[in-house]
């Protein structure tokens, strides 16, 4: 079997298609919303774009952070793999890039992400393979996930809490992908 070439992904830059909120013109609610994010001190074009609807932005950001950074339960790298798989299925290049790099950082390895990008899912562990298959099936429209996917996850050692966490990670990326990809482009 051919050796898988290890890939290293460079960060992408995202640019909005629509005019984002101008900080100078932002309402108090928009300014407050943009401070809720725990990320960098500078407000990204993505956040400035979503700030046009600050209520949705605040609610979703809180839920997103709860799902992706919850204590205990599914290991973070598995949440990132679920996010990556959903992003690939939804065609969100930017999200896939971010979460592939996150997975590589958390696992200190590009083996899984290289295998994914090379189409060599046959080399994945049972657990990773189960996560990928479930995420892809759940992300489809209509969702195609069935009990065999749950069987595969439990056989790979996942407990109920971990599966709940995985479902939420996949689902929230169905949301995130449908903002990031349609509202801007990455390069």
């Amino acid at each position: 079997m051919n050796k898988i070439i290890k890939i290293r992904l460079k960060p992408l830059t995202w640019s909005p298609y629509l005019p984002p909120v101008e900080l100078a013109d932002a309402t108090e609610e928009q300014l407050a919303a943009m401070k809720v994010t725990p990320s960098a001190s500078k407000v990204s074009p993505y956040v400035l774009t979503l700030a046009h609807d600050p209520e949705s932005y605040v609610a979703r950001t809180k839920l997103f952070n709860a799902i992706m950074y919850a204590e205990g339960g599914l290991p973070r790298e598995d949440r990132e793999l679920g996010a990556l798989a959903a992003s690939l299925a939804n065609g969100c290049r930017y999200c896939a890039n971010v979460h592939a790099r996150q997975h590589a950082r958390l696992t200190n390895s590009t083996d899984v992400t290289s295998a994914l990008f090379a189409g060599r899912t046959d080399t994945l562990s049972k657990r990773d393979s189960g996560i990928l298959a479930f995420a892809t099936a759940l992300t489809a429209t209509p969702p195609q996930a069935n009990h065999s996917h749950i069987d595969a996850l439990t056989e790979a050692g996942m407990d109920k809490l971990e599966i709940i966490d995985l479902i939420h990670a996949i689902a929230i990326f169905g949301w995130a992908n449908r903002l990031m990809h349609p509202l801007g482009h990455s390069n």
Partner: protein, 161 residues
């Protein structure tokens, strides 16, 4: 007229109730967070001139893309306005503005990878403002999130180890 308090009271959390119980048992913060998201996209304090009936119609149209939509559809009552009723049923719309919105919503629900700047431009051409487009984007994406959540948790609920 849609009674929003009943709609929210029955369906603010994920349907059906046993899924809420599963979620509350393990991750109550996820349940509460999802409820807040539902309020934000369906009945925000500032609706940005997007009527509730239109929001519900969008949600209903997208929910029909679920594998088993019936329980979730109960959370989005059929609009009384004939145009919105047709829209929510997934029908072809004769109103130009609703027709463009329908095409966009269908694409986001089923083939989000096909989204492009042109789709947003089309929405602006028929009169949607930038804030409205963002609000509609969040709404569409929320419903798609809910579809996956309910589907996944339903599998878990009925899974026999």
């Amino acid at each position: 007229m849609i009674d929003t308090s009943d709609t929210i009271g029955i369906n603010a959390e994920l349907a059906p109730n046993n899924l809420v119980r599963i979620g509350r048992m393990f991750r109550p913060e996820f349940i509460e967070g999802a409820k807040d998201c539902r309020y934000a996209v369906l009945t925000p304090n500032d609706p940005l001139d997007l009527l509730h009936d239109l929001r519900v119609a969008v949600a209903r149209r997208i929910t029909k893309t679920a594998a088993n939509p019936d329980s979730q559809l109960k959370g989005y009552p059929i609009p009384t306005d004939e145009s919105l009723k047709a829209f929510s049923a997934g029908e072809i719309c004769t109103d130009p503005k609703l027709a463009v919105l329908a095409a966009h919503v269908d694409m986001i629900a089923s083939e989000p990878s096909k989204a492009s700047a042109q789709h947003l431009s089309d929405l602006q051409t028929v009169g949607f403002s930038v804030p409205q487009i963002i609000a509609l984007s969040e709404l569409c994406a929320y419903v798609c999130f809910q579809i996956r959540l309910v589907h996944g948790l339903s599998l878990l609920e009925t899974h026999h180890e």
